[in-house]
Amino acid sequence: MGRRSQAAAVLMLVAAVVVTGCGRRRAATPQPAPSTASTSSPDATTTGAPPQRVEDALPVPPQPLGEDSIGNRPLDDLNRDSPLKPVFFALDSSDLDDAGRAAATANADVLRRYPTWVITVEGHCDERGTPEYNLALGERRAAAVKAYLATLGVVSSRVRTVSYGKEFPFNPGHTEDAWAQNRRGHFVITSR
């Protein structure tokens, strides 16, 4: 998982640089480092980051996100390389774990910065449940993300939810890695 997602992150970063010329992003690691490590280590912010040489090549510091570079990009580009990170879930669960809450919190920060954005949280599932059950599970995942965002001050009128069950896997593989990437609340910016 680590190698694959790091490679994916590198690719996405390269794409971001090519498309926008900037846009340093936090690693899109499906399973960030354990919370114990990130709370105890002074290097916590780099724990889940992509390889160092890529970071070195990036001209813009990680936070805050460049207002102009994000605010001016077409919606499709923005979503393709989104500042809003997925919230990942355990098997047959719609509970946000520590990593999920951290991702949702970071997304809430971005949404505070762009108060006009309206988003859709898509609930997705891995292929191991039936297509019918996964529609309900995806609904509950999306609803759980929306509820947590609400506790962070993101008003519900800005958050639409939808379940795609297991219809649109992000990783078409049949491995634990693939399944982990496909169990998610996926954020899409629908207007701004």
Binding site: P131, E132, Y133, L135, A143, V162, E167
Partner: protein, 445 residues
């Protein structure tokens, strides 16, 4: 005699009203004959040779009708169908008078079908007789015309022979609806690279696969109206919402009208109501509405997820899936939401119930076995479970044939996700789809 003739006439009228254009009509009642029996303790042995082409244009149809009729009669396992490749020694009869009864008897046939096809211009006339090889008497005789294709003649003949000879409601004229990604179209209104899934239909044997929706969106979970004239399904526009498409009229209705997210619609047995799952109140729950969207009522109220409703044959109960006790299990309640009780207790994960149709009273479902699912059947009266599939791929989304003797389901056993049918005894596996991936079959009445 008079009663039988009246029944045939009634069937013809019903066919004209309820069936799509192109289904052949019986023109005249046949001779009233006796039921053809086999040797004691064995099913009657049927021979179905090619039909006779009375005009040169009809040659291909004549061959097709014979082959399809053989397949249709074989499907219900009520008769033993003598393999067609053993008929080569039998002289071909051009007329009924030339039928070589002795040769058919020698081959072991108890019954033989003799049919003719006449094609003049666009008009096709098919005559068929079912003959008792021992007595040389006609048991069944009819003339058909106006079918949309040769297979439709065979399907109608098969259903009528099953009805007349066995009192059995055949399914040769039924259809399957399912979801397929075979077109490989891409969604146009999303930032993600996602495939369109459209609703398709096929004859019960997999022939005549046709695309029904042309929305270039995600379409899921078709279910048939009991009269076979409409399909209810979910379309993402982009909000998932229930649509009812009257497929022969080209009329579409949207009973849920965009109120929340709505999924897994299923018609009540009398066709007046639709049960569905909705998250409109924040959590997946079971709802019922009239087909026109009026009189929406919420049936479940539980913080767990309640989903995938299915009606009992009488329409007074609804089974559904809930994970209120942990893993998904199958529950039953009254159609008004009363008296919720758990049905499955021996499964770690019991999902996607489909209630059989009368006269059977059982629920097929997907039960987790190892890495995937197998199709199992829960008998309501006895509480016993029997297994239909045994670990070849993952087997999901069971749907009953209207006579309760077969199930459609999806399996990954040969790669991808494909629709299959199988007998309720687990025999007679038949692959229906091959193009792309295909899911969630529904079987028409």
């Amino acid at each position: 005699m008079g009663l039988a003739a009246a029944v045939v006439a009634a069937i013809a009228v019903a066919a004209a009203q309820d069936r799509p254009a192109g289904t052949p009509q019986a023109q005249q009642p046949g001779e009233i004959g006796v039921v053809i029996t086999g040797d004691p303790g064995t099913p009657p042995r049927y021979a179905v040779p090619d039909f006779v082409a009375l005009t040169p244009d009809a040659a291909e149809s004549a061959k097709t009708i014979g082959q399809v009729l053989w397949d249709d009669l074989n499907f219900e396992q009520e008769f033993y169908l003598i393999p067609r490749d053993t008929y080569s020694s039998i002289p071909v009869a051009r007329t009924i008078d030339a039928l070589p009864f002795a040769a058919w008897r020698e081959l072991g046939a108890d019954a033989v079908v003799f049919g003719t096809v006449q094609q003049t211009g666009g008009k096709v006339v098919v005559q068929v007789r079912l003959l008792n090889v021992r007595s040389r008497q006609t048991a069944f005789a009819k003339e058909y015309f106006n079918a949309s294709n040769p297979r439709a003649y065979a399907h109608t003949i098969a259903d009528e022979i099953h009805q007349q000879q066995r009192g059995l409601r055949g399914v040769a004229r039924t259809k399957l609806a399912f979801v397929s990604d075979r077109n490989r179209d891409r969604l146009v209104d999303t930032v993600e690279n996602r495939e369109v899934k459209e609703i398709y239909t096929a004859d019960y044997d997999g022939a005549n696969q046709r695309r029904i929706t042309v929305s270039r969106r995600l379409n899921l979970n078709p279910s048939w109206a009991p009269d076979g004239r409409a399909l209810a399904y979910t379309t993402y526009r982009p909000n998932p919402d229930i649509f009812v498409s009257f497929i022969y009229q080209g009329v579409m209705q949207n009973p849920t009208k965009g109120v929340g997210a709505n999924y897994l619609s299923i018609f009540s047995p009398d066709g007046t109501r639709i049960a569905f799952m909705s998250a409109r109140d924040g959590n997946p729950e079971i709802y019922v509405m009239n087909v026109d969207g009026s009189n929406v009522r919420r049936l479940t109220n539980h913080p767990a997820g309640d989903t995938t409703p299915t009606w009992s044959p009488s329409g007074d109960q609804i089974a559904f899936v809930s994970d209120r006790t942990g893993g998904p299990q199958i529950y039953v309640m009254g159609a008004d939401g009363s008296n919720v009780r758990r049905l499955t207790t021996n499964e770690s994960w019991a999902d996607r119930p489909t209630w059989s149709r009368a006269p059977f009273n059982e629920i097929a479902y997907a039960g987790r076995t190892g890495a995937g699912f197998d199709i199992k059947v829960y008998d309501i009266a006895s509480g016993q479970t029997r297994q239909i599939t045994f670990g070849e791929g993952s087997n999901e989304s069971p749907a009953y044939a209207p006579n309760g003797r077969h199930l459609a389901f999806t399996s990954t056993r040969f790669g991808g996700v494909q629709v299959f049918t199988i007998g309720r005894d687990g025999r007679g596996l038949r692959q229906i789809t091959r193009a792309g991936n295909n899911q969630t079959p529904a079987w028409s009445n």
